[in-house]
């Protein structure tokens, strides 16, 4: 047997099949490719974070916290106007449209959290870090109680299943347990609410490279520029099959473009007080904070963010690598992940058995 044949044999043994997560590198390429085409700097990191980022930006970054329609009726419970403190938010993009059967048994909530971001605002508010945790990250989920009060024992699973298992509190517990970062508020953002925000903005412009007809998603549009509103907007960002190459990555890419367009629109609207109010009202209907931020809390956050510009944001994805037992999943890459958590003031748990 000749040396080249043996070498080829060795090569075959060493070879690994590309994992599905390789598509992320494609996204990285596209992100690297796009900035010159005028996507604002703020947007670059948003692609991986996904759609809920839109609403979140609307909810947290933009002026939300200044005005809250229900705030007037909410008693001020905050004991004191606290000085500016470090603030950690866990933002969940929640899709309640998912039929229960898809999510799991009848005991499940029928809601799914596809987007999970940790927003860290240090006390000086100089640099705001947004860390997205991919939904297919396999981690240890602590024991939680489900909607009916039944205990779900601790187990390894996809990070987004924590929300399905036990709602916002379980998601919070899970993220706290892996990062050691104390979470002040969980912010749930409804996908469905997006359309109201888009409407409040007066629609968002999109460009279709070719005509789209997707019965499932309820889309039927010719190629070219469109001003989309309401359900159409939602369908556009949600559909996976009739646009692009059908992958989640192409959807993320589309959502990113939508985001950019939406932000452009939002910026122009923000100078119009009447529309701004509508915008804020819709944004706040779409989000739910646990524990709820009260007026003082919100005003405080808003004021503390007054000097923050888009350049002060840092968008990261938690360090990860393909999951050893299933290349379709990923897991935290250590020690990089713990290092990140520590830099954000967390105290990650000591690893046992490793």
């Amino acid at each position: 047997m000749d040396d080249l044949t043996m070498l080829r044999d060795l090569g075959r043994t060493l070879e690994h099949e590309p994992p599905p997560s390789l598509v992320r590198q494609r996204q990285r390429l596209l992100e690297g490719a796009r900035p010159r085409r005028g996507v604002p700097r703020l947007m670059r990191g948003w692609g991986l974070i996904g759609l809920a980022a839109v609403v979140t930006a609307a909810a947290i970054v933009v002026p939300t916290m200044i005005v809250h329609p229900r705030s007037a009726k909410t008693p001020v419970t905050d004991p004191a106007a606290r000085p500016v403190e470090e603030l950690n938010l866990l933002v969940l993009g929640v899709d309640r449209r998912i039929p229960v059967s898809v999510v799991g048994g009848p005991d499940k909530l029928g809601a799914r959290s596809d987007t999970m971001m940790l927003v860290h605002m240090p006390a000086d508010r100089k640099k705001i870090t947004v860390v997205s945790i991919p939904r297919d990250t396999i981690i240890q989920i602590p024991a939680c109680k489900d909607a009916s009060g039944t205990s779900v024992p601790t187990h390894r699973g996809m990070v987004n299943s924590a929300f399905t298992d036990g709602g916002a509190s379980c998601a919070e517990k899970t993220v706290e347990s892996i990062t050691g970062i104390r979470i002040d508020h969980v912010v749930e953002v409804q996908f469905d609410g997006l359309k109201n925000i888009v409407n409040a903005l007066g629609g968002v412009e999109i460009t279709l490279p070719k005509a789209v007809k997707d019965k499932d998603a309820g889309l039927d549009m010719p190629a070219g520029r469109h001003l989309v509103k309401g359900d159409e907007a939602l369908a556009y960002v949600r559909t996976r099959h009739s646009l692009g190459n059908g992958s989640d990555v192409s959807r993320i890419e589309r959502q990113q473009q939508f985001l950019a367009s939406m932000f452009k629109k939002a910026r122009s609207v923000l100078t119009d007080p009447v529309r701004l109010l509508a915008f804020l009202r819709e944004s706040s209907k779409t989000i739910k904070t646990t524990p709820a931020l009260d007026v003082q809390g919100m005003v405080g956050v808003a004021q503390s963010l007054a000097g923050v510009t888009s350049r002060d944001f840092r968008f990261l994805t938690v360090p990860w690598r393909p999951y050893r037992l299933d290349p379709n999943r990923i897991e935290l890459r250590q020690p990089a992940a713990d290092k990140l958590f520590t830099s954000l003031g967390g105290i990650p748990p000591k690893k046992t058995g490793k």
Binding site: M1, G11, G32
Partner: protein, 193 residues
């Protein structure tokens, strides 16, 4: 490897398009990311392969304006870039081969009898091969592994590495001589041919 029919744009067309339409470059990714991943995983293992493939395409994208459009096939170009990037991970690569010398690797199932016989020989030789690879000069190793582990012709390897084809031949010969001597020195199972 990729039979390019008339309906498909050639790599060079895509690169030309990408100069004005950056998104066109993603098609190149779809064509070759898997191929590059397999190659990189052989050399440095799967842990950093994904990242390296990503970096390869970012570097290629950044350098697309310098691509000579008379070459329709972009594979030599991409292999050249990935080879450069791998050389930054020489330590990882060496450790990868060293690990191979220590732990026997599971074999892929061979179906028929003579493949089993050949498989046994090959398997026995693996730690030695790994040692031989680790001991090669980086330039020689690059040539040897492009020849053995990619589908590139000698001419394409020359193009990938930016050296004359004569250099490819001489590096390849030197590398193979070394590998054979390591195998011959200490492998009694090696068959003469």
């Amino acid at each position: 490897m990729t039979a390019q029919t008339a309906a498909l744009p050639r790599d060079s067309d895509l690169i030309a398009d990408s100069r004005t339409e950056p998104e066109a470059f993603a098609v190149l990714f779809d064509r070759y990311a898997g191929m590059l991943y397999r190659y990189v995983s052989r050399r440095v293992g799967p842990e950093i392969a994904e990242d390296l493939v990503g970096e390869t395409f970012l570097a290629a994208f950044a350098g697309r304006s310098g691509y000579d459009l008379s070459y329709a096939d972009a594979r030599p170009w991409l292999f050249g870039i990935v080879t450069n990037l791998i050389s930054r991970h020489r330590r990882t690569e060496a450790a990868h081969y060293r690990a191979l010398q220590r732990s026997p690797i599971e074999d892929v199932a061979h179906s028929d009898d003579d493949r089993i016989a050949a498989g046994v020989t090959a398997r026995a030789a693996r730690p030695l091969l790994a040692r031989a690879l680790a001991g090669l000069a980086p330039k020689d190793r690059n040539v040897l592994l492009l020849v053995a582990w990619s589908d590139l012709s000698y001419e394409e390897v020359a193009q990938a590495l930016g050296v004359p084809i004569g250099t490819v031949r001489s590096r390849l010969n030197r590398a193979r001589r070394k590998v054979r001597s390591v195998l011959g020195d200490s492998n009694p199972m090696r068959e003469e041919n």
